[in-house]
Point group: C3
Chain length 256, copies 3
């Protein structure tokens, strides 16, 4: 059986996440279940795309990812299962699949084809997405979920790409993590090790190889664990120190 990883904006104060797990266990008893996170701010597809992208390559090669961040529930956005590499993503078509890459295979989710009860107006996670993920986990033929559709018409990911070239890049903070690290959209591989970052302070942040190379209270430019450049402070919060938040500009120059 394929393991299922869950990502939602349901939070943990209500029964919603527990119900997804319950449906998975009910429809695919014994399935391995992994929580990628449920604290995505309500309806924040951008954050969901970011987290999914960061976690993707660590997942088991045959994982099914159930991602329910779905501000358009009950509207006309398409519910999908998309195969990307050996993994399946089950999600609304709102940029989540495109955040990962090009799908090799896409089917729409059709509750009638799947023999499900009429979905509620508000909880397609329970009524449609989780049952579909359970079937893929069990190894059901994707054709039993709904119609095959072209993989090239999916909604784009809302996270912007950095602007610039090998010399100077206009990057953007795309995520602030629990530790206050300001993660940008620029891959570390795009610039030299001597790169510096201008973020509004009189002096730019210099590159460092790890937290421990930074002086106390110094904002440094670091390659984070997803390969993206981030502004970070050793044993401190770059977000608190700089006042920057998601969407703010960071200019990164390769230096000399």
């Amino acid at each position: 059986m394929r393991p299922v990883a869950l990502l939602t904006d349901f939070g943990l104060a209500d029964h919603y996440v527990g119900v997804l797990h319950a449906v998975l266990e009910r429809e695919a008893p014994g399935v391995g279940r992994i929580d990628l996170g449920h604290q995505v701010p309500p309806g924040d597809v951008w954050t969901a795309c970011f987290l999914l992208r960061c976690a993707w390559s660590s997942l088991p090669a045959d994982a099914v990812v159930l991602a329910v961040v779905d501000p358009g529930v009950g509207g006309d956005r398409r519910p999908l299962a998309a195969r990307i590499g050996g993994r399946w993503l089950v999600a609304p078509d709102n940029g989540l699949a495109a955040a990962i890459g090009v799908a090799a295979e896409v089917v729409t989710l059709d509750w009638q084809r799947m023999g499900l009860a009429t979905p509620s107006a508000t909880f397609h996670g329970r009524d449609l997405f989780a049952p579909a993920a359970a079937r893929l986990a069990r190894g059901d033929d994707p054709a039993t979920l709904g119609d095959r559709v072209a993989p090239d018409g999916l909604e784009p990911c809302p996270i912007p790409e950095p602007d610039g070239n090998g010399g100077t890049w206009h990057a953007v903070v795309i995520h602030v993590d629990r530790f206050g690290n300001l993660i940008t959209n620029l891959r570390a591989a795009a610039v030299l090790q001597t790169a510096v970052a201008w973020y509004g302070a009189p002096r730019p942040a210099r590159r460092a190889g790890s937290y421990s190379e930074a002086a106390p209270g110094e904002v440094v430019l670091l390659e984070g664990s997803a390969g993206l450049l981030e502004l970070a402070v050793n044993r401190g919060s770059a977000a608190a120190l700089t006042g920057l938040s998601r969407g703010d500009d960071v200019d990164i120059a390769s230096g000399t």
Copy 2:
């Protein structure tokens, strides 16, 4: 082995929830474990009843539910295991079982009968309830947990029933979820599709079939995923917009 679903007010900042999982895995290795939620406000039996009721029917048909919201721990409230349909609920007798329905079978939990060490004064979840749930998950005879008692003497659920009739109902907000939806105690099936809700604003909220039928910023009356009527705002928070919270009145008239 039966899967075990957990609901507590322990929060996630301490070791308490992890210890319940540890005891389950220790006493019933490999048991499926499902977190229904641990953010019930401390001692809030009402919320625990609500969440349990919403999740119940999604659970595997043979689930054991370990619900530890227990403001009376160390006092004289009875620890119980109650079979309701094919599922077992293991919980203090404080309204949780009654929130679900009529139990077919009830046993009190007796640590001596179970051969357990003397329970601590403060953590019966670890010392009594989780070991009992693990035994039921393994398929032990309920008679080995303690004495059978009459199912009709259980504590009532604290959530009020709506007051009224088919024409006009005095409902109450019984839960505010993460998205700010104001969930009432009135079942959608009790009123016509044309029903409107008076909640303190000059004009009532009209029924809508889904979020997407609402105008931006409009408070609508929606059938939520548990079959209850709720006040909701498309891509917004009805709680923030109306100022209503749990316990507030909503008058729902079937309309014409």
Copy 3:
């Protein structure tokens, strides 16, 4: 397969915890996974030691504990696996192992020996600790993780021991839990049942056997579930009522 219990300061808003679970499931498919908690304040080794100590004895006897609270990531602190009793702790050498007891066997974690890719600068949980935990869970020989080192040179646990003797103890609040209980570092077994606690109020708190023995609003001295004395209030928060927090003094006298 041994089950793996996880304790981190990663919080639940990012992908970090999900990635640890993903790596465990990828490297040890079907492994039992238990979350001991992820809300340890960033870099707070003290709290991690406390939670680990409280949960330890409830774990399955062959558990592997993956504890990643690692303010020194990328610096020169040693990554370790330490066997204590029948359980393994996989963690940075910063006091976590010493919080539990004397290790019978310790190996450093060597990514080259393990055949892993070069670890990132910031996420050794994913790149080193979780792969090591997965190997121990699968039953791999600890010698394949790295070099054996002497168990007696580990970093000490930062939680202070109480100061005093059988008559009067100068204890310290070492943890405030979700319910506002003020847990001290003094074991209940160290004092008589008649002990009282001076904490800054005009009158001391008296010992009680359980919450229900306390009068409404009364601060009492209780034996908590880890065997430590705590200041507690029946259906209330001792932290809110007393204004005490971690590190504050509590003088406990055995009384007469």
